[in-house]
Amino acid sequence: MKAISEFFDRFIQSKAGRLIYPLLAPLLFGLYPSLYFYTKNATMVMIASYWRVLSVYLLLILVVYLVSLVIHKFNGLKAANAAAAFLLFFNFYGMLFTELSNANLFRVEHLTMLPLFLFLAGYSVWFLNRIKAKKAASIWRWVTLVSAVLIAITILKLIPIEVKKAQTQRAAAREQIGTVNAAAGNSPDIYYLVFDEFSGLEAMREYFNSTEVDGFKAFLEGKGFFVGEKVFGSSNHTVHQMAVRMNYNEYPYVQGDQPIWHEALANARGIAYLDAKGYTTMVFEEISMLHPTLPKIKADYLYRYNYNSGEDLGTLFDEYGMLVADTTMAYAFERLYKVGNPDDLMHHDFLFFTKERLPNLEDIPGPHFVYAHLMIPHQPFMFDRNGALVDSAFFRNWNYYEGQYIYTMKYIEELVTDILKNADPDNPPVIILQSDHGARIHEDNKELSGFPQDMLRNILFALYLPGYDTSTIAQDENPINTLPIVFNHYFGDNIPLMEPNLPGVDND
């Protein structure tokens, strides 16, 4: 004990120690609000959400402290007090903004309030620089002590909640495993992933001069995918195309036949076939966003776009992340991390839920057949090329298609990487990446002109078929053959394959 005490004394007296130990005050003081909000909502929030916010806070506090050290000429205690003062204004800006706004006493706007708060924070930093060393040490001790006590009390409250949460989750997982019949065989998992309105690579290269598609193609080929660049669907209608491919039956494309396609997709032959083979069938679909009359697709598990997962979305700005951000200075930039429209929000959350869920299906007995149909890069064009949110005013502006398309490629890369990483190397999955149709940038499009009209049906077509000689697949393969190719190879079927669809300008 004495040795530890001596070690600490020596550390605090050392040059490095005098700079490091004062960090404790801004660290505890800065981290407390996010911990408080997490504890208050712990029954509804996944701890992964807290870890993400915590890591951002740690980085922020470190940066603020380092800047403060420079301002205070490497006086650790004064720098720590100033950093804590800045964090006080940072952490409570959003909360005060909301309260003042609701009070309706004067006009409250970010453009005027944020500069005021930054000024007050700067003034506090300057003021704290002027106080004497003894007083600075006293302030530091109080800030540290009060923050430490608050954090300790909060953690004590949190522990029983987390224990209970873990127990409930384990019990739920056991129950779910018990209710699903064990499937037979060593068949591979099959992922049929459809990205709505994802243009064929060639059109992106030619029209948008997008060089990113080559990187995307290289990524897929590097993983072992076959990539067909001259693949065309037989129509531009989502439900028609998916009914055709899921039933490997070319329904005539006749306006007014929508009910036939709806029925065909809802009772898909391909899904029923795999169900009979002992697969657990899972559908993650957003088609019903735009086709609300589509009946429920028959599968063991059906997740529709308005599904409230209650699971971790894997994003910093999930419900909890936004709750914390809304209390801080980040609130001034809420439009960058918030989706306002409830439908858009459900879509946003569903995309992240699906991305997290698909690679992690170990709680459900395999083999799995997963049909995921996501409305991306389809409207709303809510993501820019880096995945940041676009102003909602532009969600339906085709100028934002390219950015969302580039982000979709990243989304697919991450999803594929995670699926393959978590897969059994002795029994790798089949992965099908497709779009239903290409970018439907018609001649009368308001924002974009001159898009090649014979490329509207040019689609994404990439297949990961372990053990299959993909050199036998044509560059212009008909997408109706997708499931027959898989079934013929893996189950020894002999389903006849169809001739390619030809490119052309359509009237629909």
């Binding site: 609701n102 004067f106 006009r107 005027t112 005021l116 005013a393």
Partner: protein, 164 residues
């Protein structure tokens, strides 16, 4: 600091507000008639040319003229003290045509958008209406709606109109 809280927003408005200002409509007569059918559906924030404004979406048509393009159409907010006229831009509304099958007028473009900078409106409760001005004769037709606009210092909302 108190001075800042009151002066800074005024300066900000002068510098930033370009879109969503009310317009002058000379000789406008705001007397309720039953010549216009209209409704406002939505008030939402939107960014237009880099400026955040409120977008009012709705529909309207004048019942006694087959050619709707004969009119300039304004969205009106009015109360005892103030009148505000905002220009509208026509929008396609196929649902209106379906909702009024008995009307023979072409209602394809009966929808409208109006952009409102909320800072340009004084606090208070306003009646919402549509004003039609005949481009040739200058004649006015006005009709009020069953919703009101409530503007406070920091907020703007539409509410169902209460009893008279």
């Amino acid at each position: 600091m108190i001075l800042y809280l009151f002066i800074a927003p005024v300066i900000k408005d002068r510098v930033t507000i370009v879109i969503g200002k009310p317009v002058e409509v000379e000789g406008a007569q705001v007397v309720d008639s039953d010549r216009i059918r209209s409704a406002v559906n939505r008030l939402s924030e939107a960014r237009v040319d880099g400026q955040w404004v409120y977008r009012v979406q709705g529909w309207s048509f004048i019942t006694d003229d087959m050619d709707q393009t004969n009119y300039d159409i304004f969205l009106v907010f009015s109360n005892d003290k103030n009148f505000y006229f905002f220009e509208t831009t026509p929008k396609k509304r196929s649902d209106i045509e379906e909702a009024y099958p008995e009307v023979e007028i072409d209602l394809t473009n009966s929808g409208f958008d109006a952009f409102i900078a909320k800072e340009t409106i004084a606090n208070g409760r306003y009646e919402i209406g549509m004003l039609y001005r005949n481009k040739t004769s200058g004649e006015f037709a006005y009709s009020r709606m069953d919703r009101t606009l409530v503007k406070t210092i920091n907020d703007i909302q539409m509410e169902e109109a209460g009893p008279e």
